[in-house]
Symmetry: C2
Subunit: 460 residues, 2 copies
């Protein structure tokens, strides 16, 4: 419970426009993009690291839970205050502190929106690849806390691969800097990587240093429809075996092809079991040759339809179909739960089939979109959260999808995190010893369990 005098302390730290605790505010920050809800007692908007530190000092003294949050696009309930207390919204700490062209680094506050940052970089002819689907609104702090990925991860990797350093406010309020503006660093434990993906359970990220790379000279996209799902697996293997490392290799199943076509009328062949999007980038001459090579491979596999973008506009046109998937599915059912598992790439097509079996078993509609190039599937469970009976089947289906992914050598989550959604199944992947180590680390850094409690692992 936050009593009046503690509330006043917080008010003094964040100022008049930094504290909200009227009903509408509390409700607004009680949920994220997942189905789980939790009501906070107060919502705080700090503007500086000093304020975050002061808040954490009071929170730890008073034993108040603190859930950090950016735009709340989290898909596993990671930004929901499971035990009430404080929601710490970092969106007002949204300055790009520095884009250092010479050193190819950028330093920023956690509230910077991914896409704003990417746009700013184009002025410097620099490139930051991580591109989660939510990038138009998601914050960089959230992207770090979740170790966000995106389609471009196949060639360019995910957030962790660009992270050079972090400023972190610990549970105690102490401030720590990890890493520096250097391309290499092996000084001590890799605390930067420990905090990346820790979902706000170990500390509050208040500053981020990332590395940047030169942008590719050009990029080109192919959209290919196959009659047979297996051909999607084949084309993936052929591309990599052909020495081509694509930027992105996306796969949509037949259900999605139909949902999108009915919604957007982009001319997709509705009999296609697989729609594959392939993006390559690099120097003009090399890209041209790669597109040619991939085109030929698709013909060898008797693709139903091959579309090659010749211009940037045509490129965008192709990606529009992929991006409209989430809008299209929303027309069908009120709730979409974005599942997220990653299997070894050779298990991608088998995993598609397993998900289809599970959907049939529980009589659910589960179209799948996948970052096929890295084996990351997003089965979209289309349902209605108000339908209690159906939600029971949904829960069973999710657990079965998780179990099957682990059984096929895969992981519970490729880019959405454990959050609160998968706390129960965590032991399935990391085992008892892994759970013990996770708890030991959590306990070492947050002995009172006030940082985003009940996420990743259940402490008490």
């Amino acid at each position: 419970m936050i009593n009046e005098s503690v509330r006043e302390e917080f008010q003094k730290i964040v100022g008049d426009d930094g504290l909200y605790d009227h009903e509408e505010a509390l409700v607004s920050y009680s949920y994220d993009a997942f189905t789980f809800e939790g009501m906070p007692e107060v919502v705080l908007f700090p503007k500086t690291t000093k304020e975050v530190s002061a808040i954490m000092k009071v929170a730890s003294r008073e034993n108040i839970p603190v859930t950090a949050r950016g735009a709340g696009t989290n898909l596993t309930g990671g930004s929901v205050p499971a035990r009430g207390g404080i929601v710490l919204v970092l969106t007002k700490m949204n300055k790009i502190i520095e884009i250092d062209k010479e050193n190819r680094t950028a330093t920023m506050e956690p509230g910077v929106i991914n896409m704003d940052f990417q746009k700013e970089l184009t002025k410097y002819n620099l490139f930051f690849p991580p591109d989660p689907a939510s990038m138009a609104i998601a914050t960089m702090g959230g992207n770090v806390a979740e170790n966000a990925g995106g389609p471009r991860a196949v060639k360019y990797g995910v957030m962790k691969d660009y992270l050079l350093g972090l400023e972190v406010v610990l549970a105690s309020g102490d401030v720590m800097m990890t890493g520096r503006k250097t391309m290499k660093n092996v000084t001590g434990y890799n605390l930067t990587q420990l905090f990346c993906g820790s979902e706000g359970t170990l500390g509050i990220i208040t500053k981020i240093i990332v590395k940047l790379i030169p942008p590719p000279e050009t990029r080109r996209t192919l959209q290919v429809a196959f009659k047979d799902l297996d051909d999607a697996g084949r084309i993936s293997t052929m591309i990599f075996d052909g020495g081509i490392l694509p930027v992105a290799l996306e796969l949509l199943d037949n259900i999605f092809v139909n949902i999108i076509e009915d919604y957007a009328h982009v001319g997709l062949p509705k009999e296609a079991e697989a729609l594959v999007l392939i993006e390559v980038d690099g120097p003009e001459v090399a890209v041209e040759a790669q597109v040619e090579k991939i085109h030929q491979m698709c013909e060898e596999l008797d693709a139903l339809d091959i579309k090659v973008a010749r211009t940037a506009e045509e490129n965008d046109e192709i990606w529009k179909a992929r991006r409209s998937a989430y809008g299209a599915e929303a027309q069908l059912r009120p709730t979409a739960i974005a599942e997220d598992c990653t299997v070894p790439v050779a298990q991608l097509v088998p995993m598609f089939r397993e998900v289809a079996k599970i959907a049939k078993k529980y009589d659910l509609l589960i179209p799948i979109v996948a970052h096929a190039g890295d084996g990351n599937l997003h089965p979209q469970i289309l349902t209605d959260i108000r339908d209690k009976e159906e939600m029971k089947r949904v829960e069973k289906a999710i657990d079965e999808i998780s179990a099957k992914s682990v059984e096929l050598g895969g992981t519970l989550t490729g880019e959405h995190g454990i959050g609160i959604a998968k706390v129960g199944v965590l032991p399935m992947e990391i085992g008892e010893v892994g759970i013990a180590v996770t708890k030991a680390i959590k306990n070492a850094l947050d002995p009172q369990n006030i940082l985003n409690p009940d996420k990743i692992v259940q402490m008490n």
Copy 2:
């Protein structure tokens, strides 16, 4: 102290050919490639994870320090048994368990030698980029424990960037698997990255899963000599600004140019303040254009000499000069201490000048070779460990180089680790809070402080 009955337990675990404690063996494992020495009581060669686990169970029961070790190429004393006890040599666990072409992963034991692994991969047309200078003898386990880098890190990153998972034996003897054969994974804390670079202080690595990429179609190297050191900084900026991400960009100073030329007679211009090696790779057509572009840039800067390799043999010829640096320096003085600091790339040339000033101040010979593309300098302190007076000056010089690197926004170590060499200066970079967090994590995973004690951080 390891008494007779404990010795027998170990003997039983590792078998007749797995335990050595005669004088010659103990001396052989009392040192690595750094100057510090420590005498073990026993040297054990386990052959399986089960044996490692059994050893750790006895060691933790008996409170015996355990220092894991591969080939002992560590340059900061990381593999020296500072408090005696057990040296755990993992070179007999040297099987490549699997090269999974379809999933582009490999799984291996820690004793596999980096170069053997790389050679094996060529049969599968796959590529593993990390290439530390010691790769011909260094083990993959050591490479993981140190998060090893190498010249190719500019474009391809270091060990951590290829690591998908680890099997680790904890201090207690418990066995944990982190990660899986998937390209993405955000299940729980990133324990894989916490163990990578932890220098054997948190657990014993017994299995390694790495990702692999398609090899580049072709690679080409340029060797360029500049009259002026500043031009080395300029060419680096020009290359990146020109949208080229080189594989490697190495820089040798004038002292090294002379040492190598006197030793190997390869025709280097002895007046050159900087010798720059640039490697680019990719599709043939693109590489050809990049080489042309870089050649032109070098001419604009009035390079003294430009050599372009036209064949794989000529490529190797150029790299021979770089590789002969360590052999050549050994002719001059009996001891070479390979310093290792990394600064933001724009501070590379200033840091070269600072090292030269420090060398002059302490009347020492310190040629520098650098992975210039990522700001990683290796000042080679040429000295004689038996000369007590000179070694005092060497120690002061090392501390000043460390301090200067941190002052310029750099780091204490880019790829050699903290080991025992830099325990004293660690707070300079990570601060008191960083030390406290480091100790908390160490204590959480190794409460008895038996895993490679006195490395990275001093616990008690």
